[in-house]
């Protein structure tokens, strides 16, 4: 073998080794995910039962359940969605369709990019100082929902902007040519055509909010709530009640955190079971997002 052939052979085997290494690392990362799910299932699957889903927390691990936690998660998500989605979509439409090219717009852009990098617990501190003690909203569903709403607002804005940007300019020009005003163009064309990606972004943002724990601890979530909030309906006119907004709250990740941080192993089993349900919630939301994205992508060909 000539020296040059030897050199080539060496580089080729290095190349193969490098490829192998990359593949191994990738498989390790995926195995970690599998190990995590496996460990949760191994610890928690036996604890999952109807009783677990319908019981309140308790001092006795075998009697404890997560009903106040999952009801709380759904209600908090409701407030979060109602706060973040209109605001985020509105801001995105403004930035993409209306905003002039000036310093104020630049300020908003830089601001959104920076907000996305702020640690989530800092949002919790802000909500504690502002919502709880300045606006006196209390440590309630309303405060929790608004906190998470502010947390996911940058995500909603960024996702919606990307969706709107993918609508080609000739669609707008066609609408203008037919005499549509700017808002008519946006409402009847730009937003409907980008609805798939917007929805995907919303669901992913909410799935992030479902798992958030730190800001809600800071705001003052309780982990031992042995009652359900006021129902959102009532007998008399106007039939809807907003009293639940001001009830003390707990959510799934808070309940899980509480159980993990106890020394008794029986509570760790409960934590694993709660973790399984939490994981199922977030993964299901991610799956729905992927399906929506795929379906809308198939229907639209520019």
């Amino acid at each position: 073998m000539t020296p040059i052939q030897r050199k080539i052979a060496r580089h080729k085997s290095l190349d193969r080794f490098f490829a192998f290494e990359g593949l191994t690392v990738m498989i390790v990362a995926l195995l970690v995910l599998l190990a995590l799910v496996g460990q949760l299932m191994f610890d928690g699957l036996t604890r999952l039962s109807w009783q677990f889903l319908t019981s309140f927390p308790s001092r006795f691990p075998a009697q404890a359940g997560i009903v106040s936690a999952w009801v709380g998660t759904i209600l908090v998500m409701l407030v979060t969605a109602l706060a973040a989605i209109p605001l985020g979509v509105g801001a995105a439409i403004y930035l993409e369709e209306y905003a002039p090219n000036n310093w104020a717009t630049e300020l908003i852009e830089i601001n959104i990019a920076n907000l996305a990098g702020v640690p989530s617990i800092v949002y919790g501190l802000m909500a504690l100082g502002l919502l709880v003690y300045q606006f006196h909203l209390g440590q309630s569903f309303l405060t929790a929902g608004l906190t998470l709403g502010m947390l996911i607002l940058p995500m909603v804005i960024i996702a919606t902007r990307e969706a709107i940007r993918s609508v080609p300019p000739y669609v707008r020009e066609a609408a203008y040519a037919l005499g549509a005003t700017k808002w008519q163009t946006v409402r009847d064309h730009v937003v409907p055509y980008s609805m798939g990606s917007i929805l995907t972004g919303m669901i992913l943002a909410l799935s992030r909010a479902v798992g958030e724990t730190a800001p809600l601890i800071t705001v003052g979530a309780l982990s031992f709530i042995a009652f359900l909030p006021h129902p959102p309906w009532q007998e008399a006119f106007p039939f809807v009640s907003f009293e639940w907004l001001f009830d003390p709250f707990t959510v799934m990740p808070i309940q899980m955190f509480n159980w993990v941080s106890r020394p008794q192993e029986e509570f760790h089993v409960n934590a694993a079971a709660a973790g399984l349900i939490l994981l199922a919630m977030t993964l299901a939301m991610n799956a729905v997002a992927i399906v929506i994205r795929a379906r809308f992508r198939k229907r639209i060909h520019w």
Binding site: A29, S261, G275, H301
Partner: protein, 314 residues
């Protein structure tokens, strides 16, 4: 143009037929624009809220504790009778866990990104990317459980003396958590490198590895830096994993095998207790939060500078 297949709204708005005056729609248009503008400025209001609250409470805090003590005292015992307010132990805890996390996430994330962008077939990439992104979709409290009850016991087989709470397992788990952030952004950056650069390298006889490491990676360095910075700020701000698995004891140590509280874990600890509103103890969490925010901001600015420096234009 290939007509898009989303159905047109069936009932066409009868605006052009029955316009009452030339004025009304314009007024409506303007009102809507103002409303949307207001929504956009809401995000600025949030920033003002964050900075305002942290600054206000911190100013009150620093009226009672000198800034010099805060930055140089080596003890953090604000809730004890003998109160010391030195942030250093919390900062060291944060830095150690972040460092451990980065030692996992940066090599792994970069290698995965190189593999996916330079070696993997389209099919593999399309399957692996969403699967990896699921890693970052898992709630952090679940990662905390995993760190405390799976990784720590596993590590205790290797180091029998390892305490039940330690920064190593928390850092490792945070590292795995941020791998997808690093890999997905780096991969996008590498795929944006034009193909002719690769073809040039191949034409000179370079292997795929040489091309990846000496041509593609340096050309994509700007975007890769952005990925690393994203990873760093995630690791610094991560709360639940450290609060569950790294312990709550503020200790000034750089040894990852020891338990120590981070800044975020301290905020959680105080929030779980019943420190009265308006006391110095209550204000410590805002001063800590301000420190945390400043550190992430610092890294973000550094990242921005590096990103600009390495930017390549094709």
């Amino acid at each position: 143009m290939e007509a898009n297949v989303v159905e047109m709204p069936v009932e066409q708005k009868a605006v052009c037929m029955s316009r009452p005056s030339r004025f009304a729609p314009r007024l409506q248009e303007r009102a809507i624009e103002r409303l949307l503008q207001l929504a956009a400025f809401a995000s600025v209001a949030i920033t003002f809220g964050i900075v305002g609250v942290l600054a206000y409470e911190s100013v009150l805090f620093f009226q009672e504790v000198s800034i010099a003590d805060f930055l140089t005292d080596r003890q953090w015992t604000p809730l004890f009778a003998d109160a010391h307010y030195g942030i250093l132990p919390l900062v060291s805890g944060t830095l150690v866990t972040t460092l451990v996390a980065l030692l996992v996430a940066i090599p792994m994330g970069s290698l995965i990104a190189i593999y996916l962008s330079e070696y993997a077939s389209r099919k593999v990439r399309e399957c692996v990317k969403p699967a990896l992104e699921l890693l970052s979709a898992v709630p952090t409290v679940v990662y905390g459980y995993f760190a405390l009850l799976f990784v720590t016991p596993a590590l205790q087989h290797i180091w029998p003396g390892l305490p039940g709470f330690n920064m190593l397992s928390a850092g490792l788990v945070i590292g795995f958590m941020i791998v997808p952030y690093v890999s997905s952004v780096s991969e996008d950056a590498m795929r944006a490198v034009p193909t002719y650069l690769r073809e040039g390298a191949f034409a000179l006889g370079a292997t795929r590895m040489q091309t990846a490491l000496r041509v593609v990676f340096p050309s994509a360095l700007s975007g890769i830096t952005a990925a690393y910075v994203l990873g760093v700020s995630r690791a610094i701000g991560e709360t639940m994993v450290v609060a569950i698995a790294a312990g709550m004891q503020p200790t000034l140590t750089l040894n990852p095998l020891e338990p120590a509280a981070t800044m975020t874990a301290y905020i959680v600890q105080v929030s779980l207790g019943d420190v009265p509103h308006g006391s110095v103890g209550y204000r410590t969490i805002f001063a800590t939060g301000l420190m945390l925010l400043s550190m992430t901001l610092l890294f973000n600015i550094a990242g921005h500078v590096l990103k600009k420096r390495y930017r390549q234009v094709y």
